[in-house]
């Protein structure tokens, strides 16, 4: 249950992981950035990053289904909220809020979320030259090469996030 080795640096580590057009609405990709496997999700036109590690038993969370919220005030009255989505772990089907990483049934339990931004090529070019931003190896390297052209890129930021207390799994 050891955390992946994590480099806590003073400035955020940023990684170019792909283009927005490479992830369809409702879809996701799995990328490796800074030693972390991160699922990058597109939901409701926005992008979210979650560590591919379930806080329950370290299952490959991002291999699981993405589902929208179902709730019910009373048996026989089932309602859906298409604006809230969960990633479900393939091992035990626990649901984690795609935006915050919080577990549905135990809000104290949270998957580590990572900010995913969409940034323009021009700013990124400068950032890459300064060494603030890296390109991730893999299929997106090719896409990030012509960074000078007018386009947008997905950038995962491995900034230090507020301390998360991981509860032992009951």
């Amino acid at each position: 249950m050891a955390e992946p080795t994590e480099q806590r640096v003073s400035k955020p580590q940023r990684f170019i992981v792909g283009r927005p057009s490479s992830i369809p609405e409702g879809g996701h990709v799995l990328v490796t950035a800074g030693g972390h496997e991160i699922g990058v999700y597109r939901f409701g036109g926005r992008f979210y990053g979650l560590l591919n590690r379930c806080p329950h038993l370290a299952g490959p969370l991002c291999k699981g289904q993405v589902v929208t919220e179902v709730f019910s005030p009373m048996p026989g009255d089932v309602r859906g909220n298409p604006d809230r989505a969960f990633v479900t772990c393939p091992w035990h089907n626990w649901e984690f809020d795609i935006k915050t990483g919080q577990s549905y049934w135990n809000p104290k339990l949270r998957v580590r979320p990572f900010p995913v931004g969409v940034e323009g090529a021009e700013a990124l070019t400068a950032a890459v030259e300064r060494g603030d931003t890296e390109r991730v190896p893999g299929p997106y390297t090719a896409e990030t090469v012509p960074i000078e052209i007018e386009d947008e890129y997905l950038v995962v930021s491995l900034r230090a996030v507020p301390a998360i207390r991981l509860e032992p799994a009951p």
């Binding site: 589902v67 179902v70 709730f71 019910s72 005030p73 009373m74 048996p75 026989g76 009255d77 089932v78 035990h92 089907n93 626990w94 649901e95 549905y104 049934w105 009951p170």
Partner: protein, 363 residues
């Protein structure tokens, strides 16, 4: 020692505080006993047919077995055990100096398929309980019985008699035609809640259905040992179907169902809920929390294991306010309850012997 008989021990030595016995039985000695409480057309119908009463009774409680009535509690003159108040006073109410005892009469009415006769039987048993038991001893409160196959008729009987101050509970045979959580039973539970009563799931029911979750067993011992699975199935159904979201005031007692199976059953339910809750999204919290809020358990039978292991199991219940003392008179149980009490904190002992039942049944 055999606790219920107070062998080798006085009541004070066993327990010096209050006692509420949450499961003592009244046994209908014969159908004739109920004739004064039935319309003549049904009395005549029974006589025309030679009908002697619901057939399920002898299957649920084989008359000669000690589990039906222990030898010490069988009257020498051949009177049916637990069939009149004098026996109950002599064996339980007086020696145990109970504050209150909750009288349960299982007459296997659910084994009758005749829809009208089932209603007549339930009404007459309830009127007999009032007349021959509740009206004669202030220490007694009771469960009312219902035609359990017919939720609408059951609700009507609950509304007819459930307002009587002596009735605190509706007796539901644990083996039912369908699982009690299902929506077809909503009128029944609505009536229970409306009348401020407890639903008492109790051993017995539907003799023509297999007594185990998967059919008939060869021997009575199997049926006796396996019924806890049926209690578990009913508890699961009630939780998963959302009965406690629909009826938030509903209280359910598990009587003669044991409790040692509960912790592992609840662990399993909690685990399933965490992963499968989308299938029944009205259940918005852990099943174990629902159990603590909506269920209580009698401790007859206690199904005791070794004391050190029982102590651990009591801790697994996660609350000291769940178990209720019962003699289950006149049925035989051989658990040494002084050992069981010795494993509990002072608070839990007080709760078990009286206070949990006093609060639960609002006595």
């Amino acid at each position: 020692m055999t606790t219920a008989l107070l062998e080798d021990m006085t009541r004070e030595q066993f327990w010096s505080g209050s006692v509420i016995d949450c499961d003592v039985h009244a046994v209908v000695p014969s159908l004739d006993t109920l004739f004064p409480y039935q319309d003549k057309v049904w009395v005549d119908a029974a006589r025309e047919r030679g009908f002697r009463g619901p057939a399920g009774l002898a299957l649920t409680y084989p008359p000669a077995l000690a589990t039906t009535a222990r030898p010490e509690w069988r009257p020498a003159d051949g009177t049916v055990p637990a069939s009149d108040l004098s026996q109950l006073r002599r064996d339980i109410l007086d020696p145990w100096r109970v504050d209150r005892a909750i009288l349960n009469c299982y007459y296997a009415i659910d084994s009758l398929r005749h829809p009208d006769w089932a209603i007549v039987m339930a009404r007459s048993v309830n009127d007999w309980i009032i007349d021959q038991w509740l009206n004669k001893d202030d220490r007694l409160v009771a469960s009312l019985v219902i035609p359990a196959r017919d939720p609408a008729a059951a609700a009507a009987e609950i509304d007819r008699i459930g307002g009587h101050p002596g009735f605190v509970q509706v007796l539901l045979p644990v083996r039912s035609e369908r699982l009690y959580g299902q929506r077809v039973f909503w009128p029944l539970f609505e009536a229970i809640e409306r009348n401020g009563l407890v639903a008492g799931l109790h051993w017995g029911g539907l003799a023509e259905h297999g007594p185990t979750p998967t059919g008939y067993a060869s021997w009575y011992v199997e049926e006796y040992a396996e019924e806890s699975q049926v209690f578990g199935a009913q508890l699961t159904s009630m939780i998963v179907e959302g009965l406690f979201q629909k009826f938030p005031e509903l209280r359910v007692s598990i009587l003669e169902g044991g409790f040692t199976w509960l912790p592992t059953w609840a662990w399993n339910l909690n685990k399933k809920w965490k992963g499968l809750r989308r299938e029944f999204p009205w259940v918005d919290r852990l099943p174990s929390e629902i159990i603590r809020d909506h269920f209580r358990f009698s401790i007859a039978p206690a199904d005791m294991g070794p004391p050190d292991q029982m102590k651990r199991l009591l801790g697994w219940l996660g609350t000291e306010d769940l178990l209720m003392y019962a003699s289950d008179y006149p049925h035989l149980h051989t658990d040494d309850l002084s050992v069981l009490l010795g494993l509990m904190s002072d608070t839990m002992q007080t709760n078990v012997m009286a206070e949990t039942a006093r609060r639960w049944y609002r006595l």
